[in-house]
């Protein structure tokens, strides 16, 4: 078992203690003979964005699926805000927000009706639901289009609404699975600003992406996963430092990533 080092964040003169919102310990998942995830451990603290990087088929999506209860791990555990995640109806799931890679929205419904439905799945109703919808739409700057059907939205607007749907119930940790796929630079930038706002509000964010420049810009820490196991867990600077120590040229995150995972093509 990989030991966790309790981390501290310096804020001014006082040293504040932030226990991890999400703790993943020794997760394992196999599909028949294929071990997709093996002994994966990491944690995410409040106000921190952790980038989960890895080549195709590395085990990122399987890991995220276990964090949200979509897959049952063969071994290991997921702790959310101090509670072990267990079962479909575990109240701990209310503390997790999922922003899937797919645009999981109903095109024929308005943005407001989409959010009303997703909020109700978390037990929100009445004025609390209305307020949550208002706040989520305001964050992603879609309040003025709330009554429009989603099918009239641009790709970037749908991405922002997809993000809003994951935030509606005010989760402590947000799992973002490639949330900027297929959007223009303006929308991507808007999403980045949304995520930075969420960090400032103390949300813990786990961000899966293939875009190294996004990870470099946003992530406080990077977890690199390959062939189902964690092969690096460090800050961006720390990862670059490792490459420098190994005698390489001043490294980009992409160069570090390729040196860790190799250059062979993955299926």
């Amino acid at each position: 078992m990989r030991p966790f080092v309790e981390k501290r964040r310096e804020s001014g003169a006082a040293a504040l203690h932030f226990p991890p919102v999400l703790t993943v310990t020794n997760l394992r998942k196999a599909f028949g003979p294929l071990v997709a995830v093996n002994d994966v451990s990491f944690s995410v603290e409040r106000g921190q964005l952790v980038g989960l990087l890895g080549p195709n088929g590395a085990g990122k999506t399987t890991t995220v699926s276990m964090l949200t209860g979509l897959l049952e791990p063969d071994r290991g555990e997921v702790i959310v805000a101090g509670r072990r995640l267990s079962g479909d109806t575990d109240p701990a799931k209310r503390r997790i927000g999922l922003v899937p890679q797919d645009l999981a929205l109903y095109d024929e419904l308005t943005a407001r009706d989409n959010l009303r439905f997703f909020g109700a799945l978390y037990g929100l109703a009445g004025a609390a639901l209305d307020a949550a919808i208002h706040q989520a739409l305001a964050l992603v700057e879609l309040a003025d289009r709330a009554g429009d059907r989603v099918k009239t939205y641009s790709g970037g607007m749908k991405r922002r609404l997809n993000l809003a749907a994951g935030l509606l119930h005010d989760p402590d940790i947000v799992l973002l699975d490639e949330p900027t796929v297929g959007v223009d630079p303006q929308s991507r930038n808007a999403i980045f600003e949304n995520l930075e706002t969420l960090k400032r509000r103390g949300k813990a964010l786990l961000y899966t992406t293939h875009y190294m420049e996004e990870a470099e810009r946003l992530a406080d820490r990077i977890v690199v996963i390959d062939r189902g196991t964690v092969i690096a867990d460090d800050t961006v600077a720390g990862l670059k430092g490792r490459a420098a120590l190994a005698g390489g040229a001043p490294a980009t995150l992409e160069a570090v990533f390729l040196s860790l995972t190799g250059r062979s093509l993955r299926d």
Partner: protein, 428 residues
Amino acid sequence: MPLTPLVAMIRKDLQLFFSDRRAVIMSFFVPIAIASFFGSIFSGPGSNAEPAKIAVAVIDRDNSDISRGIVAGLEGDRNLRVAKPTEEEAKAQVRRGKTSVAIVIPPGFGDAAGRAFFGDGDKPQLGLAYDPSHGVEFAMVRGILTEYVMQAVSREMFGGAQGRQYVDRMLPQIQSSPRMGEEQKRLLVGLLQSIQGFYNQPANAGQPRGLTMPYGVREEAVTSGNNVAYNGYAHSFAGMGIQFLLFAAANLGIEMLLERQRGMWKRLRSAPVSRMSLLAGKTASGTIIALMTLLVSFGFAMLVFKVRIAGSVAGFFAVSIACAIMAATFGLLVAALGRTPASARGVTTLAVLMMVMLGGAWVPTFIFPAWLQQLTLVVPARWAVDGLDAMTWRGIGIGGAILPTAVLLAFAAAFWAVAVSRFRWEEA
């Protein structure tokens, strides 16, 4: 089971259903249009509609009293529409499907038929050219023709000039016949002399001579009550209602597969909602949509075609609700067993069409072979149609609803059990 997510799922599915114009048209307007069409065809004679007449061509090449009597009988029959083209024209019409049967009365038919009536000489042959695709109509025409031939021949032989001439000619031939025994001669001569004596009596006005049908019929369509005509729309709306509510439910199942493809189930499963709640929500919304489909169809039939729930209203709703639950769980089964939306759509369409065809929604099950009629008992659509028929035009009480309702709910339980056990929950 928390109510807020359940209600939200039902409301969302209803919103999606009503926002899909194609689904609404398919579920409400198309079944009404098709059921109206089928109802107009199968509404039966009790609806005061003139029955469709069978097109028949008659070519009288004999032109005897007997042949003219046959033609007159056919022309007066309410089930036939008789034309008198040439033989060539008649056969061309049959080949083109414009005429069902062409009847050719050959020369000498009357004379030969008269003799054959008393067993003397060969039986003459009527020519019947018929359209093989109208087999049922051909059988009807044969029956009708037999009646008029027997009437015309017997009338002529027992009261016409041809019959008198025949008896006058036959008496000396019989008495001198070397082939007949004396006792046979005595009896046959006695019979013919009696007929002669009958001819010599003055005819009573209105007293037909010859053979007549020895019975009449008093027809009674057994429906919900005395003098209540069969309303074919009741059956056609039941059949088409079932067909389209199954299509609507199957479409919901395919929508679930599309939702899975779009990643929606990842979002649903990440919420703190149980698997049973998710499936129950889908089943509930499917049931409501299916029930609306059925009730809107029947509502239209009641308003426009005077279909009535002549049996038990409670029984009608019990069967309808059981139909809707069965259909919704069928949709769930589609979602559980389907691999992709495209493949599921093809298989489901075939399954629904087979179910409604075997269930008697298109044609009555009595025309099926006996083994197939037994087989249809394992088709839920059969129980649904029978149950709705029982509560509408058959006018059977609540007791008639119990078995169909129970069987439909049993099908629903089986569909649900298979769907739950085969549903793919894990999303990698």
